[in-house]
Symmetry: C2
DNA sequence: TCAGATACTTGATCCAATCAAGCATGCATC
DNA sequence: GATGCATGCTTGATTGGATCAAGTATCTGA
């Protein structure tokens, strides 16, 4: 199990609550991935493949190096969870698609990763709206202040 | 930059907001660590060393193998950020403490990791309370339902 | 046609995580 | 106080992720 993100010595209840939540989310994600024999990175990549997509595009979306994608996709391909196929117009490029197995495995992963669903389910509709509003506002606070 | 935790194909606004928040938090943490020349795991471990603590205890707190801690601490020690010293009563055990450098570097990390502070700062006191309540309630929802 | 950009791969390096094995020390019991 | 087991930590091996530099094939625009 990976080491947790934080805790910073949380100086307020709000910071502590945020950390606890993030930590629980991350751990749940990792646990669900492991249950399906996937690493976090593999689960994440598999989750992005809802449409045909090139390696470059995938790397950009995930904000990482293309060679990182190459190796992750290679491991998934070795397990027949994804396939690389030629791009129709650009022979440099490869389109990645999930196989049926890949789709099934990812569905199993989502089922395992009950965290977000369970969390939401414990809130009333109104509370959900409130949470969305607050999280977005909190996030907004992190965008400019350091510029 | 590490691949993001998620997104699961978020089926509700609330799930999406949670993911976005967690992802932003994790990325901010990683960025702040990198700015100080630390890995995420190293920053995390350094953050735990607010008191003298043994390797075993640290491994238990972080939920990982003791040998994992050994190597992380060794790297930190090689940079003079922490020191291992003998346990007064148990000669098997080592107490880890931060050096002054380690303390200073971690302070710099916390300064870099403005995420939680900025997020909180954008909320009124009442909103902060609401957020804490909602996050805790959401977290509670993830505890039993699968048992 | 040619120069430079782009898409991907390969190989190297570093780090984190995990496992098995090993060493020294502590502890309980005989 | 000797024996056997538990505990705390380290070492070595292996796997995987992230990053970087370099290389190949292909595309694009001048």
């Amino acid at each position: 199990m990976a080491v947790p993100t934080g805790p910073v010595t949380a100086s307020t209840d709000a910071e502590r609550a945020m950390f606890d939540f993030v930590d629980a989310y991350d751990r749940a994600y990792e646990t669900a991935a492991l249950e399906q024999g996937l690493s976090v990175a593999q689960a994440c990549v598999l989750g992005r493949l809802t449409r045909e997509i090139g390696m470059r595009e995938l790397a950009d979306e995930l904000g990482c190096d293309a060679s990182n994608i190459t190796q992750i996709i290679s491991r998934l391909e070795a397990r027949d969870l994804v396939r690389r196929r030629p791009h129709p117009n650009d022979r440099r490029s490869r389109q990645i698609v999930r196989t049926d197995e890949g789709i099934a495995l990812y569905a199993a992963f989502e089922k395992s990763f009950a965290f977000a669903r369970s969390a939401v389910a414990n809130l009333t509709a109104h509370e959900q709206d409130q949470l969305v509003t607050l999280l977005r506002k909190a996030l907004d606070g992190t965008r400019e202040p350091n510029r």
